[in-house]
């Protein structure tokens, strides 16, 4: 496995860490209850992490040739 592939574990840890460590309605995040706000933030972070992962994935270069 490529070293950057391990980045893919972060969304799993991040998504669950919030509710597990702080199962509570407050504080509100972006007007939403804590857990819902937390998950929403992690949806954005997951997308960003996958973009970084793809950027450093050597396979991206061959993908470009295929995509013509």
């Amino acid at each position: 496995m490529k070293p950057t592939s391990w980045l893919a574990i972060i969304p799993f840890i991040g998504m669950f860490a919030g509710p597990i460590l702080h199962n509570s309605v407050t504080p509100f995040i972006l007007g939403m209850p804590f857990i819902l706000g937390w998950i929403t933030i992690w949806v954005f972070l997951t997308s960003a992490i996958m973009a970084v992962l793809y950027w450093f994935d050597p396979v991206r270069l061959t993908d470009k040739e295929d995509a013509r």
Partner: protein, 490 residues
Amino acid sequence: MNIALVLIAIATVFALVLGIVARSRHEMSLEQWTVGGRRFGALLVFLLLAGEIYTTFTFLGASGYAYGLGAPAYYILAYGTLAYVISYFMLPKVWTYARSHKLVSQPDFFARKYDSPALGVLVALVGVIALVPYLVLQFTGLGVIVQAASYGAVSKSLSMIIGAVVVTLYVVISGIRGSAWTAVAKDIMIISVAAFLGFYLPIHYYGGIGNMFAAVNVAKPGFLAFAAHGQSLSWFVSTTLLTALGFFMWPHTFGACYTARNEAVFRKNAIVLPLYQLVMLLIFFVGFTAALVVPGLKGAATNISLLKIVVAAFPPWVVGIVGAAGVLTALVPGSLIMMSAATLFARNFVAPLRGGQSDETTVLLAKFLVPVVAVIGCYFAISGSSTIVALLLMGYNFVTQLFPALIASLLPRNPATKEGAFAGILAGVGTVVFLVLTHETIGTLLPGLPDVVKDFNVGIVALLVNLVVLVVVSAVTAGRRLPLASQPTK
């Protein structure tokens, strides 16, 4: 007929016409009908896969779950996102193998990878069983929409029958191309409707989203966080994991992957599709607002909560537009599901058992089976009384049992034997059937365990049984000969 029903009827006719147009330009061989000749570009694959996100499940199910149960609904936002992370690594491998072996369906994949037609038959059977609740939930949704849009004039059962007839017509006429193009219309409509309702309703009734949640928190303390027992934190984590692992195990989703033109599509989708999930938030906003504005619905009746608040807040023509969007969200996935179930049964269950069945016979049998599947789905939709989310979770209990054997087969050296894969899937499915039929949970079977374990989703428990059996049986059978997977992956 009121204006709401007229608008819904127009949307339905529009979808049927789109299906006919999409079909007329292509001849319908088995490969065309089911995998679109494997020539779909990024956009269409995106939409076919996204077609699985915005189904009736999202529209009526997620809002109903938020309305009825509160925090447990959050899992719906989390699981898809994590599923796309897995897809980044998994789908390119699946696609490459499927293309080089000219595979059409999911059972083909297992049968070829493990060199075991028997495993293919088992996978087909698990797939068909899992698809039934998924189809039932689409019909349930269609029934709820017609019922609400007719302001009760059309009964629930009749609504469901009308829905089933339309979906059947649609499938027979168009095949997968119709699904892909209607998916475009469907997604535009659903995003517009969700954005409008999700922002308008909380602002209209409470002056803002934050105010709405604050009001919910005052009226129902604890509703917006996980309970200590039942659908607790450990239920959330185990359910999110189960559904994330099972996300691409659905026969129709797995099959939709085959339609891609190249494997880069999946890696790019893994970046974009998590964001596409955010529309779910807006649906939650509607559900939570409805919990305060139109309270009192319980159990399966919560399926109608979104439409009930729309009926309460808007004139009939808006109800018609929302209903039309809802009909499309049931039509596209419903047609994919029916087509998959019929094709799976004809091609991967009947054909291997009969032997020497021609492709023409298979297509004919599949098309004949479409209405049969519709009748079965319709029967369960009318006789059942489950929330839409409970129906989907039931499907996931079954379909996720295919995950361990699939992942093992994608490894450079497959650690699982065909006997191990077969026994594991059988044990997992057996565990689900046992737990569901006896209404047992881990808590009732083993009362001594801590609460954290007791609240685990039954599907995750079955998955663990599956994994243990797979490992043990593989270890025993691998000793007798070389593992299959020493053959190269390509």
